[in-house]
């Protein structure tokens, strides 16, 4: 899923300064599952905005809402009347949802309530870790199913580096060294010899170096 984190509240306050009526809209997919952009968080953020603005003597009216996925034109269409009725839209979807709202409603001020951070998964309730960098050329068949691009601080393809300390990364003690994990897995699977193959420099043009990327499924495109 796409993981996103709540923006600091003072940043949100600055974005909304001057607004009298704000539409706080959540998204029912990834950011609901990562507990930052669901209906519950809409209710909480709305209460925060009302309380903080009341304290400053400039009360803001908040309309609360959520759609199934903000990254679909069809689903965001239902918000049209509310969007037009408000001074600003504060979307707590990922960056995709925020932009879709902005693209669909060209006259609306659309602000992001979250910082979209990574593609990852919950390892336990309330804890999310990055798992994929979207490099466009997956190599984990050779690394025991674990991705060094997203999980190694240096995105090393021939690891580990000298900073691997007792199974953890030198960058942060709570970050496991993925190359240590790769070694253990390959060892357990008796595939350690794979590590002797030197991986040549990766062609990064399939990934984040080549914005914006596009995918077309010709067999589905309706002319």
């Amino acid at each position: 899923m796409i993981v996103a984190d709540a923006k600091p509240f003072n940043e949100i306050e600055q974005m909304l300064s001057g607004c009298k009526k704000v539409y706080v809209v959540g998204c029912g997919s990834c950011v609901t599952i990562c507990h930052t952009g669901g209906e519950k968080q809409v209710t909480e953020l709305a209460a925060k905005i009302r309380l903080a603005s009341k304290l400053k003597g400039k009360p803001v009216e908040v309309v609360e809402g959520s759609v199934l996925r903000q990254c679909e034109w069809e689903f965001i269409e239902e918000t049209k009347n509310v969007v037009e009725d408000c001074d600003a839209v504060l979307s707590i979807a990922c960056g995709i949802g925020v932009q879709y709202m902005a693209e669909r409603f060209p006259n609306a001020k659309v602000f992001p309530g979250l910082n979209t951070t990574f593609m990852g998964a919950p390892t336990e309730q309330g804890v999310f870790w990055e798992r994929c960098a979207g490099c466009g050329n997956c190599i984990i068949s050779t690394t025991g199913g674990l991705c060094p691009v997203s999980r190694c601080a240096k995105s090393l393809l021939n690891g580990p580096c000298g900073g691997s300390q007792n199974g953890n990364c030198e960058v942060s003690e709570e970050t496991p060294c993925v190359w240590n994990q790769i070694y253990d897995r390959l060892d357990a699977q008796q595939l350690l010899s794979t590590m002797e193959n030197i991986v040549p420099p990766k062609d990064w043009r399939t990934g984040a170096e080549n914005h914006p990327r596009k995918m077309v499924l010709e067999h589905l495109v309706m002319k």
Binding site: P8, F9, N10, G28, S29, T32, I33, H35, G38, E39, K40, Q41, T43, E44, A46, A47, K48, R50, L51, A52, K54, L55, E124, Q125
Partner: protein, 700 residues
């Protein structure tokens, strides 16, 4: 305060609750046991009484002498002991009974005659009167209650308990003609001539069953019902000093305990059954023994011995078995096992039988071989059109609630016949029951001590017919009610909203939510304990309680700020407290303390885990100067797991408040052992002072 009407509760339950609580299903009248217990758990006693009375014509009597099959089926049996559902009903009827009904606006011209002011007759009259019919009850005795009054001793059922409930029925317009016997003072023909459109017979079983053994004709041999009737009417009876009751059921226990109160020297009970087989509640047997009754189990009467025409004892045989292999009553005895129990009075309490003399010359009414009236099981109509019957005269041997149920069902049937309608009461519909608590879950549910009934001391009991069970205090009632697991009314997942995030599965302390058979939405089964943690944590707001009784404080918080004097109170603190923490009841919330009474508005919730953090922000937004959370200590949590969650949520709210520059003292969370003791008072008073100081600085 609780704003929903009871009808709302029922409507919502019908749509949301797939499985019904076993306590409700076990009750012949389908009393809303779970919900009135849950209302008591919240201190909402008036509302609880009203809910009871909507379904139950005689709550005061049921609260005392009902055989409470609800408790037998209570799912708390799996963890410790059942909820004292009947005693809680008694608590309500003792302290909160009121006439909840106005006379119906729509009335019908037909008049209904009801024979007998016992449970069945009173229930039929009550329900028919509420439907708009004019009812007259013809009762052969000078007082109402039927067998409740004639048969049940006063120490178990004080007469004012009967009279109070009957008065409410009378206030619906029901007329009771006392000292009027069917077959003597009125007949079916005379009633029809008087214009009664339907007749309901609920005369009960008036006679004791005979024991056809040698010596039954001796002086000093009494019939149980006659004996009880005499004592109940006159306060005494002619008996000797050494009394033996034959029989092992409730009436036998009543006879024995009544005899004990009549200056006897020895009272014994002899019955065919072993102690475990006796057809009455353990509680009754224990109380009888406690009061001094001697039990002779597994003995059968061979003959009554006597001298000069007077009984002197009972010759008995030892019982081999009472029931044969087909579980039919078919006692067998050991030959040559004769022994004698001496007694100068022998009371036969081996069952009751009908007195059908009123049916003389009424051959159209079919009677069974057991001398009961035969009715259509769906309509309660006898073989004579327009004449209905219910209660013991149909059942042969029934309980108080079975009698009430038959009266209620017959009332609907009479209405349908008169109006050509097909009205039905969906409460009696077949529904699946919440299954037994899963074995794996039993250790996760906290054991809660069952509350004892305060009893009259033994020394006081034997010299009077004063009520033995003294009733629950409000505190005890709330504690007992808070043991209820709210079966079938817990959380459910709206599958249209669930995003399958698995949060509920992860946070539930009882491991109840699950993803069944590849389904992509969560399912919460009947073992839900209503802690509400999953409801608050669900990011999609896809989980709700099935019952509106669980308001989580939001409605009351809204209502609080609609109150003008509250809005003007400065400083104003809203206190969210855990009602499990102490039985804070009714309007007596908190110790008397002027500061708290003025400045602290209290919202009790059964478990603070069901309060959303946004509600604390709402309280501040709507005008509170401070929010005080008083939760239970970690090892005292009813749900065992809320402490950590309350700490985390409090930290989350505090973090935000400091982010927007609010003083940390306006939002406080404390873990306390009592919601009313000095420690709580100190916390609350200090917080009022803190906020006064903050406001002073602000205004300066």
């Amino acid at each position: 305060m609780f704003a929903m009407t009871m009808n709302n509760i029922q409507t919502k339950q019908n749509t949301c609750t797939g499985e019904e609580a076993p306590c409700v299903m076990a009750c012949p009248i389908r009393q809303d046991a779970r919900d009135y217990v849950q209302l008591i758990a919240r201190g909402l006693f008036k509302e609880a009484y009203r809910l009871v009375r909507e379904r139950n014509t005689l709550p005061a009597s049921c609260g005392r002498i009902c055989t409470h099959p609800c408790e037998t089926k209570c799912r708390r049996n799996s963890t410790d002991k059942p909820i004292a559902i009947a005693w809680l009903k008694r608590f309500l009827s003792d302290n909160y009974s009121e006439n909840i009904y106005a006379r119906p606006e729509q009335t019908y011209p037909e008049r209904i005659a009801i024979i007998g002011a016992g449970p069945a007759g009173l229930a039929a009259a009550n329900d028919l009167a509420l439907m708009g019919y004019s009812c007259t009850i013809f009762e052969s005795n000078p007082h109402p209650g039927g067998m409740l009054r004639m048969g049940v001793p006063k120490y178990r059922l004080p007469r004012n308990a009967i009279d109070k409930d009957v008065e409410f029925i009378r206030q619906l317009g029901v007329e009771i003609k006392y000292n009027t016997t069917l077959g003597k003072d009125v007949t079916f023909d005379s009633l029809k001539k008087e214009g009664y459109a339907a007749i309901f017979i609920g005369v009960g079983l008036l006679d004791s069953r005979n024991l056809p053994i040698e010596g039954a004709e001796y002086d000093g041999v009494l019939k149980g019902i006659s004996f009880l009737r005499e004592v109940n009417a006159t306060g005494t009876a002619k008996i000797g000093k050494n009394v033996l009751v034959i029989g092992g059921g409730a009436v036998a226990m009543d006879c024995a305990r009544t005899a004990l109160r009549l200056k006897t020297e020895k009272v014994s009970v002899a019955c065919l059954e072993s102690r475990k087989e006796m057809p009455t509640t353990d509680f009754e047997i224990e109380e009888a023994v406690h009061e001094g009754v001697i039990l002779y189990n597994s003995v059968g009467p061979k003959r009554i011995l006597g001298e000069h025409g007077r009984a002197t004892g009972l010759e008995t045989l030892r019982v081999k078995y009472v029931f044969d292999e087909q579980k039919r009553f078919h006692p067998a005895f050991y030959e040559g096992s004769e022994s004698v129990i001496e007694a100068d009075t022998i009371i036969l309490a081996i069952g009751q039988t009908s007195n059908l003399s009123f049916l003389k010359n009424q051959e159209e009414i079919e009677v069974s071989r057991g001398a009961t009236i035969v009715v259509d099981p769906n309509t309660f109509e006898t073989s004579m059109p327009g004449i209905y019957a219910g209660g013991d005269i149909v059942l042969g041997r029934g309980t108080l609630t079975e009698g009430l149920a038959q009266g209620k069902k017959a009332a609907i049937s009479i209405h349908n016949a008169l109006r050509n309608e097909k009205r039905s009461d969906e409460k009696w519909a077949d529904k699946p029951e919440v299954p037994k608590l899963a074995d794996a879950r039993v250790p996760l549910v906290k054991k809660e001590q069952k509350q004892d009934m305060p009893m009259l001391s033994l020394s006081k009991r034997l010299h009077s017919f004063d009520e033995v069970e003294l009733g629950f205090s409000p505190e005890v009632a709330v504690r007992e009610a808070q043991r209820c697991m709210n079966c079938g009314a817990g959380a459910y997942v709206d599958e249209h909203l669930c995003v399958g995030c698995i949060t509920c599965v992860r946070v539930c302390p009882f491991d109840v939510p699950e993803f069944r058979n590849g389904e992509i939405t969560a399912y919460i089964g009947g073992d839900c304990q209503s802690c509400g943690l999953c409801i608050v944590e669900c990011p999609a707001k896809a989980i709700r309680f099935k019952t509106p009784l669980e308001d989580s404080g939001r409605e009351r918080l809204k209502a609080l700020f609609q109150d003008a004097p509250v809005q003007k109170t400065r400083p104003l603190i809203v206190n969210f407290y855990c009602q499990y923490g102490s039985p804070v009841v009714g309007s007596v919330e908190g110790k008397s303390n002027a500061v708290i009474e003025k400045h602290v508005k209290r919202i009790g919730v059964l478990g603070l885990g069901k309060v959303e953090p946004s509600l604390y922000l709402n309280a501040l937004e709507w005008g509170a100067d401070g929010v005080l959370i008083t939760a239970c200590k970690e090892d005292e949590c009813h749900f065992c797991a809320e402490y950590e969650w309350i700490k985390k949520r409090s930290a989350y709210v505090s973090g935000f408040l400091s982010e927007i520059g609010m003083d940390a003292r306006i939002f406080q969370t404390h873990f306390v052992s009592s919601q009313t003791d000095n420690a709580f008072v100190d916390i609350a008073v200090q917080m009022v002072k803190d906020i006064e100081q903050i406001n002073l600085v602000k205004s300066a």
